[in-house]
Symmetry: C2
Subunit: 242 residues, 2 copies
C-alpha cells in the first residue's frame, strides 16, 4: 500500500500518548514503590512490582471498553490494580493514606530526558495536547511536576472512552474543532498509532527502546503506514521543521 503523502503544514495539532512516550513510567514507579517498601520494611523486586501493576492496566480498561463497567477515571483503575498487586505480594496492614499516596506516583512520573525541550519546540508550531488514557488530574499534576508545556489535556476523560477505541481519538479531534487528518498522533506504541490512523489521524512513531527495560522487543521500529519515525522528540521537531 502506498503511503499517503505527508504535508506537515496540513497538521494543526500533535496529540501525544503519555505513559512510555513522554514519561518513563517504569523507572519512576519502581523508584516510588521501592521508597514505599523501604518505609514499610518490605522486600520485593520493585521493577517486577512496577511491571505487575502495569500488567493490570489493559485488562482493567478492557472492562470499560466492553461496557462491563461504566467509564471511570484511570486513577480509580490504578488504585484497584494497586490493591490487587499489594494483596498478591502478601502486603497488608498499610495505612490508607500511604497507599493513596503510592497510587499518585502516576501523577509524578519523570519525563524522558529530552521530552520537555522537544515538546517546547513542537509547541512553537503546533497545538500540543495529551491524548492519553490518563485522567485530567493525573495529566495536569504530572505536567506541573515536570514542566510539560501542554496546550490542552484531551484523551480518555474528555472523550469518556479509552484508547484504542475510535471515540478516544475522534472526540479529541472534535474537541479541537479539527478534522482527524489535521491531527497527528505521537506515540512509542504502534497499536496506538494504527488505531489513530484508522480514524484518519496522521501518525508519528517515537522510539522509546527501554520503556519496558533492557530486554524490550516490541515497538523498536515504526509499523508500516506510519507517517514519521523519530528517535526522540527533538528528532521529531527537526523532521517537522520546528
Amino acid at each position: 500500500v502506498a503511503k499517503k503523502e505527508f504535508d506537515p503544514a496540513a497538521v494543526k495539532a500533535l496529540t501525544f500518548d503519555v505513559f512510555g512516550t513522554v514519561v518513563d513510567w517504569r523507572s519512576s514507579i519502581a523508584r516510588e514503590a521501592a521508597a514505599f517498601g523501604k518505609k514499610h520494611g518490605l522486600e520485593l523486586d520493585w521493577d517486577t512490582f512496577a511491571d505487575s501493576w502495569r500488567a493490570l492496566y489493559q485488562p482493567a480498561m478492557e472492562k470499560v471498553r466492553t461496557g462491563e463497567r461504566p467509564w471511570v477515571p484511570l486513577d480509580v483503575l490504578h488504585r484497584q490494580n494497586l490493591d490487587r498487586v499489594l494483596e498478591d505480594s502478601g502486603v497488608s496492614g498499610i495505612d490508607e493514606a500511604e497507599i493513596a499516596n503510592l497510587n499518585l506516583a502516576w501523577h509524578r512520573l519523570d519525563p524522558w530526558p529530552e521530552a520537555v525541550e522537544g515538546l517546547t519546540r513542537l509547541k512553537s508550531r503546533y497545538i500540543i495536547g495529551t491524548l492519553s488514557n490518563g485522567n485530567i488530574a493525573l495529566m495536569v499534576n504530572m505536567a506541573k511536576h515536570t514542566g510539560l508545556p501542554w496546550d490542552v489535556i484531551l484523551g480518555s476523560e474528555v472523550a469518556r472512552a479509552y484508547k484504542p477505541q475510535p471515540e478516544a481519538y475522534l472526540r479529541s479531534a472534535a474537541a479541537l474543532g479539527l478534522a482527524p487528518e489535521q491531527c497527528m498522533m505521537v506515540a512509542a506504541h504502534n497499536p496506538d498509532l494504527l488505531a489513530a490512523a484508522e480514524c484518519g489521524f496522521r501518525t508519528a512513531f517515537v522510539l522509546r527502546a527501554n520503556e519496558y527495560g533492557p530486554h524490550q522487543r516490541a515497538n523498536r521500529t515504526a509499523a508500516d503506514g506510519v507517517d514519521i519515525s523519530a528517535v526522540d522528540f527533538n528528532d521529531l521537531a527537526d523532521q517537522l521543521g520546528c
Copy 2:
C-alpha cells in the same frame, strides 16, 4: 455574615472566567467586525454590533441551561447569534466562509495588557485553568493566538454545563481531583463569583472597569463575601504571594 478566613496555601487551582476577565472581547470583536464591514462595504456602528452579538449570549445559553435544547459548544451558539445580528442589521449575501471566519473572531480575542504576565506569575504557584463557557477549541486557539499559559482547559465543554449552573464549577473541580474549596474562581463578574462560592469555591474579583466600554456601571467593586479583590492579575499575584 463573617467571611471565612482565607488561606492562600489551601488553594491548589485558580479557575478563570475568560471573556472580559482575561480578554477584551468588546474591542476585539468590534475591530474584527469593522474589518469585515469594510471588506463588504457595510456601514454600521461596530461597537454596537459587538454589544448586540454579545447580548444574545446569555439568552442562547439559557436555552441549554433550562433543557430546552441539548448542550452544544459555544461556537454553535455564537454562530446562530451572529446570523441573527447580521439579519437584524440588514446584512445579506455574504459568503459562508466569510461569516464562518467572523464567528471565529472569538478565538482571536486580545488579552488585557497585563494578563499574560500575571497568569505566568500565578502559574508558578497554582494550577491555572479556564472555567469559561467557551468551548475547548475556542480556548485553545485563543491561548495559541495570544500566549495565555493555561495548564488546563476546563469549563462548559468538559462539564457539559454552562455557568452559572453548579455543575460547571463542581465538575471542573472534580476533573482536577480537587475539593471545591481547593479551587479559587477568578472573574470580573460578581454573579460568576457568587455562583462559584455557592459551590464551595474561594473567589477573587478582578476589576475590568472598561469591559463594557466607558460607561460601565456593573462590576466596579467586589460583592460582599468575595475573598480577594484585585485591580488586575499582577495585583492578584501580589496578594497571593506569587
